[in-house]
Symmetry: C2
Subunit: 804 residues, 2 copies
């Protein structure tokens, strides 16, 4: 029994002459060699080139890895090699399907890259043995195209992001072809399903070309795939509906000779590359007036193509049983061992490798040379290509702050002016990504004076701030924005992602994967550092009063802090100048994820630029003008804050204390760099214990007003001496549509509550200030009643300003 072809298959053929037999030989030999090496990685510990009969002890005990997707990946790599040589194409290969690792390693080995990077994996029997051994093996490499795989910017561990990564790589790389293989399993994910629309954003002149190759092998772990089980006309309509010109090649079914599939595919690939060349030429000549219909390829082959047809009486090739390890245990019976050996020998290894174990010259000859090899393309080790941003001096954009709180400003709007100049000074390697929120987050209008949103959809007469090429990328998909930016960064460029705070949770898992990539990449000597992934979270939890409970969630910070301290940084600048200083730092950094939360609403400004720089350099510090402590004495209480709204409430509380309890020595502390709170042993930014104690004391009450969920403060400080004295306030999931001050009251983060906390926690105050405490309770009720009556905050609260 052999896999059966789906009903009808059509594919346009673009040229009449076919490939010569010798060309097909060479492609087929590469393919067989890559397939052989892939199987070897999954199964063998020894006897790598089957110089002797296969014995049980040659086979791994635990068989890990996935064969199913591999022959398709190897097939595409071989064919792309030919066209790269013929056309001198600068090509990046992206492996969307999960567990494509063995194929990528095999191809990198065949084109020589792997041995150049890992000298112990030389092109010999011994090198191959070592390569096999380390695959999916403790101390070795995983089964994905992980950071230790040359030529990869896309691990494919979690599925769904290949095409977004591909477009991210293509932006501002006008000569680059990104061949992006999309698995039909991956194609079912939401992120992938919308990423096809990236073609409305890519610019045919200034950006590179993405060639999506949808690889339909029909099965996931235990199910058929959706796109393999719809009529062919629907599949083609879907691709046309996504704006592509689809080319379908189907082959390998019903026992078809792979050489025939090679011939057909090569012809289609030439047509497609000609088509791309024509579009690029038209675009360059300025004769392209509308968005082109970029070609894409659908390749339909049996799952696990060329593996045993039947094992233990069950069909394997072309079914879901070929997804993982077709032969789940080759050590249990002689029959299974023989099947494995026959399978491996079916690729005729003697024809593929010479006596020393090196791939034969005919095979090596298919590979392009030097950096044109897809595994060696420096774009896939983007740190090599990264040039630091040219940054205007952020001090020049400072808000004048004659005295703390004396003027109002909008932090993100101020940042927008600086970013506008960052864009002007870096016209080709910096972009802003966001799901329709760059304006809402107040980076506009400044940013749109410097650039536009890149848009290659249709235009209407009254469109504003849109252009065929621009530095701002907006599509209403956080997944798309995150994926584009990751691809852009990993290929050596810079950028930031601005988003509503609550909705960054949409890409929690993408952040996780990127953070893990960065952490793993740091341990790989040949990977050069890439620019940090910078988030700008505005429209944050405390100012989502108008949008209601569904928009109120500061929990992304908790997700971020779960990832390695080597990678994650969290900043909560509390005014415009601290935001400028913070972001300058972030755009200079490498290999981090910088999470920055900042306000967009008009609010009092606190620090001069000089003070802001000093404060941000320390990461946290005492605000001496706000407290009432006496020189050389410890305060009675510490009021600490992280975040703009919490700091405002702390300062308002401090002003009440100063007026009503002038005898109380109050220290006010602000934290911008959240990781300073953690112990030095746990985070590189962690403040030494002595410094922490000097600021927070070891035995005085600390009332800590925090932007997010309050237990974060306990988590970060639980090894500190004074930890049991810290009383943290923050968001405790009390929200609704209301006013800003009602939001802080609902969560007990308001100035009145903070003063009550001081009364309750500083020994001796409770009895003495019972009257004040009642006043504060009354003030809370008055504020709430006013809000419910008028629909706005009490003017005395809303318009409160620092009294000095």
């Amino acid at each position: 029994m052999t896999p059966t072809a789906p009903p009808a298959t059509t594919w346009p053929l673009g040229r009449t002459e076919t490939l010569g037999a010798d060309e097909i030989d060479r492609i087929d030999a590469w393919w067989r060699a890559a397939n052989y090496l892939s199987i070897g990685q999954i199964y063998l510990l020894d006897n790598p080139l089957l110089r002797e009969p296969l014995r049980v002890e040659h086979v791994k005990q635990r068989l890990l890895g996935h064969w199913g997707t591999t022959p398709g990946l190897n097939f595409l790599y071989a064919h792309l090699n030919r066209t790269i040589r013929e056309r001198d194409l600068d090509t990046l290969f992206i492996t969307g399907p999960g567990h494509g690792g063995p194929g990528m390693v095999a191809n990198g080995f065949l084109d020589g890259t792997y041995s150049e990077i890992y000298s112990e994996i030389d092109q010999s029997d011994d090198g191959i043995r070592r390569m096999f051994r380390r695959f999916s093996f403790p101390g070795g490499i995983p089964s994905h195209a992980s950071p230790d795989t040359p030529g990869s910017i896309h691990e494919g561990g979690e599925l769904g992001y290949s095409l977004s990564h591909a477009y991210g790589a293509a932006f501002d790389n006008p000569g680059l072809l990104v061949a992006c293989v999309i698995g039909d399993g991956e194609a079912e994910t939401g992120p992938l399903a919308t990423s096809w629309h990236s073609n409305k954003f890519v610019n045919p002149v200034q950006d590179g070309v993405v060639l999506p190759i949808l690889h339909l092998n029909g099965y996931k772990i235990a199910n058929p795939t959706v796109l393999a089980r719809i009529p062919e006309h629907e599949l083609l309509e879907l691709m046309r509906g996504y704006g592509h010109e689809p080319y379908l090649v189907s082959g390998g079914f019903d026992g078809e000779d792979p050489r025939e599939v090679h011939e057909r595919f090569a012809a289609v690939l030439d047509v497609v590359l000609d088509r791309i060349a024509t579009i690029k030429a038209d675009a360059a000549a300025g004769t392209l007036s509308e968005r082109p219909r970029w070609p894409m390829i659908i390749l339909r082959t049996p799952k696990g193509w060329t593996c045993p047809k039947i094992i233990d009486g069950l069909e394997v090739e072309g079914t879901f049983r070929a997804h993982q390890v077709p032969l789940a245990n080759a050590r249990d019976t002689p029959e299974h061992l023989r099947i494995l050996e026959d399978w491996m020998r079916s690729y005729r290894p003697d024809e593929l490798f010479d006596a020393s174990g090196a791939p034969r010259a005919e095979i090596r000859a298919l590979a392009p040379e030097g950096d044109r090899r897809m595994s060696a393309n420096p774009v896939a080790n983007g740190g090599l290509l990264r040039t630091p941003l040219r940054l205007p001096d952020f001090r020049d954009y400072a808000v004048e702050v004659p005295a703390p709180g004396a003027v109002d400003g909008q932090a993100t709007a101020v940042l927008g002016h600086w970013l506008a100049d960052v864009i002007r000074m870096n016209p080709h390697n910096f972009r802003i990504f966001g799901p329709d929120e760059t304006a809402s987050n107040r980076l506009a209008p400044a940013v749109y004076a410097a650039t536009a949103k890149q848009w290659n959809g249709e235009y209407h007469d009254n469109d504003v701030d849109l252009a065929r090429a621009g530095r701002v990328m907006e599509m209403l998909s956080e997944h798309q924005c995150e994926g584009w930016l990751e691809g852009y960064l990993l290929t050596g460029r810079h950028g930031l992602f601005d988003c509503y705070e609550a909705f960054l949770h949409i890409v929690d898992s993408m952040f996780n994967q990127h953070a893990k990539w960065l952490e793993a990449a740091k341990g790989i000597p040949w990977r050069a550092p890439v620019a940090s992934l910078n988030y700008l979270l505005s429209s944050h939890v405390w100012r989502q009063d108008h949008n209601g409970f569904s928009h109120q969630d500061p929990g992304f910070l908790d997700v971020a802090v779960n990832k390695s301290a080597e990678v994650v940084r969290v900043y909560l600048p509390f005014d415009a100048n601290t935001l400028l200083s913070t972001y300058d730092h972030c755009l200079r950094s490498v290999d981090y994820v910088n999470v920055v939360v900042a306000g967009k609403q008009p609010a009092p400004q606190w620090l001069t630029m000089e003070e802001a720089v000093e404060h941000c350099t320390r990461g946290l510090g005492i605000l001496p003008w706000a407290g009432t402590e006496r020189d050389g004495e410890e305060p009675d209480v510490v009021l600490a804050a992280a975040g703009d709204v919490p700091t405002l409430e702390v300062l308002a509380a401090a002003s009440i204390l100063r007026e009503r309890m002038p005898e109380l020595a109050v220290r006010v502390v602000n934290v911008v760099d959240l990781m300073r709170l953690q112990s030095a042993g746990e985070h590189p930014h962690g403040l030494p214990d002595a410094d922490f104690d000097a600021i927070f004391t070891t035995d005085k009450p600390v009332i800590f007003a925090y932007h997010g969920y309050p237990w974060m403060i306990h988590r970060l400080t639980y090894r500190r001496h004074g930890h049991h004295n810290i009383h943290a306030r923050g968001f405790k999931e009390r929200g609704t549509t209301t006013t800003p001050f009602d939001m802080v009251m609902l969560n007990d983060l308001d100035r009145y509550r903070l003063v009550m906390d001081v009364i309750d926690r500083v020994p001796g105050l409770a009895a003495k200030h019972a009257g004040l405490r009642q006043e504060l309770e009354d003030a809370r009720l008055r504020a709430r009643d006013y809000t419910r009556e008028v629909g706005d905050d009490l003017p005395e609260v809303r318009d409160w300003r620092w009294p000095d």
Copy 2:
């Protein structure tokens, strides 16, 4: 200037006779009334029906809410009303576009539902005034179709899930029509982009019908939408490619009379409903052999249709400026006030409401009656329809455990047998959802003996476990699975979501939205409780050794615990019998999110069913057979564990201690219900302090081996007396492709490390047991070296069993 139509527009017309003028009158009047009431909610505090000239004090100070999407929603509601009456359709309305709240409230008011539920909002001037006032007002209601909106199961706060929710509602509701309005902004999200493929899963006989209505009004906050800016043929191809038969109605551009649009739309709606009726009849008759091409509608109208064309010299209607509040401040100038008044009077309120403020009888007559009103449909208050599951006695599925650890078992496989019978006993109101992992997570094969995966894509001869109708829903999109399940639960049914632990992060934000919905719904008296959302997280962090770092992430628990304690429950059963007991509890519960983590690999079984029930009822407890404490005395040290792998390591550590330090009094504690650790004041499951102290002591070292990130234990226990004695071990983001035991070693959660922790932390042991400590260090090195050599765990570790 008026909005311009996109180039060409075609729509098929299915019947020749058109609607009578009186029918159009009635639809148009309803629409005007709903539009009027929507604007009133956004703008007015008083003078609701403009009985007097509009004055500044009648207008709200803070204008919140979104007009842009509303006229389209109101239009559709009016037209559906007509067809519901004519055809007696059981119809659920889902509002995908964000901020559609005012429209839903207005329609619910017009059909009478709103006043029935909220008696103070009666059909009078005063009632309308109160309705206006509470919209987007402190103490009032938000601008989404939140839980307090009758007729809603879909808030639309975070975008992207409308269509998944719609299909979830339709499953097992064969007579239900779900009219799902999808905003063209929402349509750009990944989850929405893949949810179109739901039509390959819905069964035309046993399930209801989803009618997707893609509402193209062209704009998001500050951008055009992608689907509104592609050629019409592409849009139609896209919908056909998704498997639908699209019907496009475009209208309201270039000043077109809305009555003409009503006429066209009504005709198309009739065609579409006829088409649906035909498909349903064919399906019922058994003459439908393939997946039908279900119709869908594209409605293209100007953004903010019928609002002022120009304000302050800028185009508003038909542009992004109509997205939110077209007239951002009506109180600032007399001109703006006049524009608002003219706008509102353009709907001719005098024709719409009678002298008492009630909608005129002609308008009310358009509404269906009783439960047929979309706002009153009990499906949208699914708790009313919920019947408890019939549950087989889980004790009958127990693993025989003659002694602790005496037998091996696979927890999820055992659960699978029970779930198979749950399916058999509840053939119409229970489903399992998962992204291709029901088999991988070992619920199969048992579950597939009882049912199949529901699949309405194409079939191949060799397909297994697939059927046109079945109780298991698998698509490789966690978003889709989550959305389907939420829709299914909110309409009164039961189910669970099984998923790889790491990849549940993909739906973090969906979980957040659902948890917020549940919490809000609990405070609304007329909302009946719905079945809990049950997760089964298997393939968990400790057994993703083979899949590598990208698959290793226990952080969903941290996301879950951030949400309200009223809603979230977390369980970590550590063997098959505790899993059975836990899941029985979960499937009986309502209005919770139950997160259950359980193992799928063969592992020792610890408790008899009787012990398991007792243990799970307490939620945590001492395992007396495992410790060496003496009756009536406090132990020297507590070894605590939560999770199957941590418990195994703790027990292995306990067995080492028992052998090597028989004099040490060791207590072993296992925690199944994680929330028991939290203080009683913080979580309803929180253990009283005295009970906590009795188990964990107040002053003895507690070595706590936890399944997830270790700081969770500190977070949950930081108010407990003995908190500073707790030393938590867990996943600390150290992972790779390796073996199970190497995973626990990498994270210092292994038995040897735990014994070393005991030596380090129990006073007096360090000096005495320096030799043992060194032995343990050596044992770790030996285990690591063996693993790297052989690729598997040391047999003495891998095959370790409890010695008793």
